[in-house]
Amino acid sequence: MIANNPFSANFDQSGLSREEIGLLRRVAGLMIPQSEAFGVPGADDPLIFADLLASLGRDLPAIREALSLVKQTQQSDAADLAAMLTSTRPDLCASLVSVVTRCYYRDNRVMKSIGMAVRAPYPEGFSIEPNDLTLLDPVKARGRRYRLVADE
């Protein structure tokens, strides 16, 4: 999952400049900070952020535009930054949220913390409780709901 370390020589493969990388890491940390109470890292954690940089993919142009906006505003408060982005460019805000959360919520530590098994869905799958079809008795009792048409 972890493609590279942001502090290694490879990090420029993300397509971002060093300044943009620094800015993105600051935004990621503001958006999802580390929490001792929940025992989870922030989105600016080195491993998570490296994954994030390696996974920008189709969002790279939008992220560069978003970072340009962030740089202009100099906001350092998470709520203020979110409010500014949401009000001015909700599309760019959504791109930032997307790239951060896509990698944050597949980190082993985070998945464990929210009660998820640290694995892909396949091949084990999941369990779903069985049906109680007696719940449908009142629906059956009410009878036909579709309209009859002349040619049927």
């Binding site: 109470a37 998470a78 979110a82 959504a94 597949r106 929210i114 892909a120 079809l133 579709y146 049927e152």
Partner: protein, 532 residues
Amino acid sequence: MEPVDVLIIGAGASGAAVAWSLAETRMRILCLEQGDWVRQSEFPSHGRDWEERQYGDFSISPNRRGLPADYPIHEDDSPIKVANYNAVGGGTILYAAHFPRMHPSDFRVRTLDGVADDWPISYQTLEPYFELNDRMMGVASLAGDPAYPPKAAILPPLSMGKTGRLFGRAMNQLGWHWWPADAAIATQAYEGRAPCIHLGHCIAGCSQGAKASTDITYWPEALRQRVALRTRCRVREICTNRDGRATGVIYYDELGKEQFQAAEVVIMACNGIGTPRLLLNSTSSRFPHGLANSSGLVGKRLMFHPYALARGYFDEPLDGYRGSHIVAWSQEFYETDRSREFVRGFTWQFGRGQGPVQTAMSGMAWGKIPWGDGHHAAFRRIFDRSAGMLAICEDLPELHNRVELDPVLKDAHGIPAPRIHYRLSENSKRMMAFAQTKAEEILVTAGARDIVTESPLSYAGWHLMGTARMGEDPEESVVNPWGRTHDVKNLFIVDASVFVTSGGVNPTATIQAIALYIADQIKQRLTHLFDD
């Protein structure tokens, strides 16, 4: 290229069904598909990045995916964006497998409600094909749904889980219809398909192979009967001769080389955007405005289903991301009721929760999860504790909603791309508003502590209908009541382009029933197929 008897363009829901049905004729049948086979091992749920890939190579938007099989769509002038998938299996690769049929009343909207037009065929016409298709796709359902005429169950119904129980109780309290959703998902081993193991996120492809996509249902059967399928072949235009008959197609093969494929009969199965695009790109001196377009209706009357979403957050843990998207449906408000401020109606598709990424993204978008220190606590309050519904609203046909060719945008082969123009009707807006109000009532009854609503859903243009509609009158329709174009006697259309109206249900079951019906019509008329 050796000439063939039948050339099918597109290997998706309808192309696969028509290919399989015609195979018994022993005609030489070839299908050209612009996409490729997708292996189950390539689907997202094999990896930890299963949610991320739904925003990448398995995005529902062709513009976002931008894969070699995709063509761009200019959709700036539409509040609803196109969702599709280009591969063997087509849209059935990337759908939830919600499998309702249209209703008897859907084929008689002019007679019953005084809007749009009646279809030239009926539910009764399609009933045997619905049944056949249910068997071929392996549909899970529970017999006895009072919202439908009697129909057989092929496989046991989906596991509705905690979400189904929650909504079932609420609907019973309100006295409203609900029922386990028909789903093209194998709930037990069926025809070589493994049973559902509740991987979730069915839309992005089923690694288990439990979801019925036509690459694993119809196509293996059709190929065994010697139907040929050529992938990564994009058709540029349908060619015609001086008699106005289709002679074959020009296409680009997998190496990008231009080829001509001769055929006696051409069948289009390219969906409600791809079919008008190809017809409009097939101009000639005889057909200067596009093929089969003497009515001027090719590309006109585009219908989506506007979707109204409502989602509630509950105190108790629910199914979350586990299990199929779809759980149950309600057609309490499906039929017209003149006391409401709209005609026609909608189906509610009840669904489970979301994965962690979607929970975080939607939670932040809807203001339920803040940036910063409150993020973690807020996330945990809603993760695995949400459930909701989509109202699939009937969209009435309107001439100004249309597909045309973009004068600038082209695909990778230089073929003009489609451009769509679409406006929500007042009827649709009123229907969505009504659906949201009633959905909130359900969610409150179910015990939701917090509710969000959104309409129309923007990235939800899965259902592409009406752009080459069926009818008796050549001036008011593109194909006749058995799928042959009025203008070109050896050209057929079998996808949702031929829909006269949209109904308020996901269209795949009806699309495939129509494809099977048209295939039967072709078989019955083989000796006089091209007669007037």
